[in-house]
Amino acid sequence: MTTGMASHLVRRALVQTVRLNHPTKILQLAPHIGLKSLRCICISTKLHAKRYFTEKHEWVDVKNGEGVVGITDYAQEKLGEVVYAQLSEVGTEIQQNDEIGVIESVKAASEVYSPVSGEVIQINQEVCDEPKLINESPYEKGWLVKLKLTNMEELEVLMDKDAYENHVKTLE
């Protein structure tokens, strides 16, 4: 067995560990792997969820028939400092393009529309308590609601990352 193969196997084992445990532990276990490899591992877990975008600047990460919805970085930047977020309640049945929440800045209230149909199974209470998370981390901590999707075909009309980025360019 060459050293190259050995390190490959170690890395695979670590990937498993990371999936089961907390990712920061990996650096303590095997500091020689370094941050670069860690980043690879993060991407590999992300591959399980595919992100779709709407023209109106919402995103949805779809994984195992569930979708996490939020607003894009472009939207948060245009809105300015978010001071209040109101989200649909758990259990609400939502149709695609229905209002799923309202986000308010000092000057205006803006509705958020659902990219997909489904039932609200979780809301991000942290965003209700600290609305500026939407500005600080629109794709991670600033997510809004989680839905149980009822019609996977709806995803076909949504944009992927590249298409959305091109769409944003046409707005500038």
């Binding site: 109106k56 600047h57 919402e58 607003i71 939207a75 245009k78 809105l79 300015g80 400092e81 001071v83 209040y84 109101q86 309202v102 986000i103 308010e104 800045s105 000092v106 000057k107 205006a108 209230a109 803006s110 509705e111 958020v112 529309y113 046409t170 707005l171």
Partner: protein, 396 residues
């Protein structure tokens, strides 16, 4: 999501892209029809986010957000471009009878229509003329009325003339204003109380009219300056060593004026509101109330005596911000009492402030009411205004 600013009756603060904008059939919704102030280039260079406002392309905010800008004006000093307001000069020895008859005309029209036509500020100058600043949203209407009245007065043989002052207008507002401006004028600013004005050079730029007034509730001045030197003056002020002067957009201007309890024409007062119910009775001078020599006197005096059916008051609430148009109910949530005309989450108070009209028996500060926000009832109470104490410079 829809990303937009609140739509007012006569103004649209829109952040939408052009395509969406064209599909909206609102006035001033297309950038190509918009006018630009002499500071347009400055705004663009400094990251101002330009939006349509009352027929003008104006900065709603700069890179600093609205809340931060707002708080900066409350704690230090900010600079606003208000060149979109109409500045006029009334000369001739009969300028005062002229402006009184114009205001009489406004009161008359007010009585015919039952509402307020506009808010404008008339300042008497020591240079033999009156200096008038009126609201950008009403500029066309005002100027037409002024010209009509002028022709009428001239026919009567009165000595009066009207000219538009094509200057830039800057508002320097905040507690550190006098520290900044004092370095640029050769008189003592403590001799310029609230609502007085002086023609002076400012940082070497001649013929500036400095009026101690504003729309933020803070001590401040408005400086009328030649259009071709406005940007130069802005840069001098922003580079002041005396205090950190920041450029401030319309967004913070609106939140500042609302905290200060000041009305926005088109929202809080318009042609359907009377000055008495708008709690603006003070605008009708004591002498004019006594002589009652203006056409609408009877009705206004009756409203003063018998109390109007509804009143403009302030409100405080927590939870979702209540915006203009929000219905106001009594404590049980059953009886509709009025509606809001302006409302924002207050950057200074960290709760929601609003103003609106409510049936007079419920207008007492402290009265508990409910707002209906997106079909849910929210607790609120009637509050005294201003929400944040005014800081005008009025030496005893």
């Amino acid at each position: 999501m829809n990303i937009y600013w609140e739509n007012k009756k006569w103004m649209t603060l829109s952040l939408l892209n052009d395509r969406v904008k064209q599909s909206m059939s609102r006035p001033f919704s297309s950038f190509q029809d918009l006018k630009r102030t002499c500071l347009y280039d400055f705004h663009v260079k400094n990251g101002g986010r330009m939006v349509p406002f009352a027929g003008w392309e104006m900065p709603v905010q700069y890179k600093t957000g609205i809340s931060a800008s707002h708080l900066h004006v409350r704690s230090e000093v900010g600079l606003f471009d208000v060149s979109h307001m109409l500045q006029t000069k009334i000369t001739g020895k009969d300028s005062i009878p002229y402006i009184e008859s114009l205001i009489e005309l406004y009161h008359f029209l007010q009585m015919m229509q039952g509402g307020i036509l506009d808010d404008l500020i008339v300042s008497k100058t020591t240079d033999g003329y009156l200096y008038v600043v009126s609201n950008a949203g009403c500029a066309d209407k005002d100027f037409k009325n002024m010209q009509t009245k002028l022709e009428e007065c001239k026919r009567k043989g009165m000595d009066v003339n009207l000219e538009v002052i094509c200057n830039g207008l800057l508002a320097l507002q905040g507690p550190a204003m006098s520290k900044v401006l004092q370095e640029g004028v050769d008189f003592d600013l403590s001799n310029l109380p609230f609502m007085t004005n002086k023609m002076t050079s400012v940082f070497g730029i001649p013929d500036c009219r400095v009026t101690r007034c504003g729309y933020t509730g803070e001590d401040g001045v408005e400086i009328s300056v030649a259009a071709n030197r406005a940007e130069e003056l802005v840069n001098i002020l922003l580079n002041s060593k005396a205090a950190n002067v920041q450029p401030i957009g319309l967004g913070a201007r609106d939140s500042l004026r609302l905290e200060a309890g000041l009305c926005l024409y088109g929202n809080d007062i318009d042609e359907t509101t009377s000055p008495v119910e708008a709690m603006l009775t003070w605008t009708i001078g004591k002498r004019r109330r006594q002589t009652a020599d203006f056409p609408g006197a009877k009705r206004i005096l009756e409203e003063i005596k018998n109390k109007p059916a509804r009143k403009r008051v302030g409100f405080l609430s927590t939870g979702p911000p209540a915006r203009d148009g929000t219905p106001v109910y009594d404590e049980t949530g059953e009886k509709l009492l009025g509606k809001l005309t302006s409302g924002i989450p207050s950057p200074s108070l960290k709760q929601n402030v609003a103003m609106g009209y409510i049936q007079s028996p419920y207008a007492k500060a402290g009265t508990k009411v409910k707002f209906e926000v997106r079909k849910k009832m929210v607790d609120a109470q009637v509050s005294k205004m201003p929400f944040v104490p005014n800081n005008y410079y009025m030496p005893k």
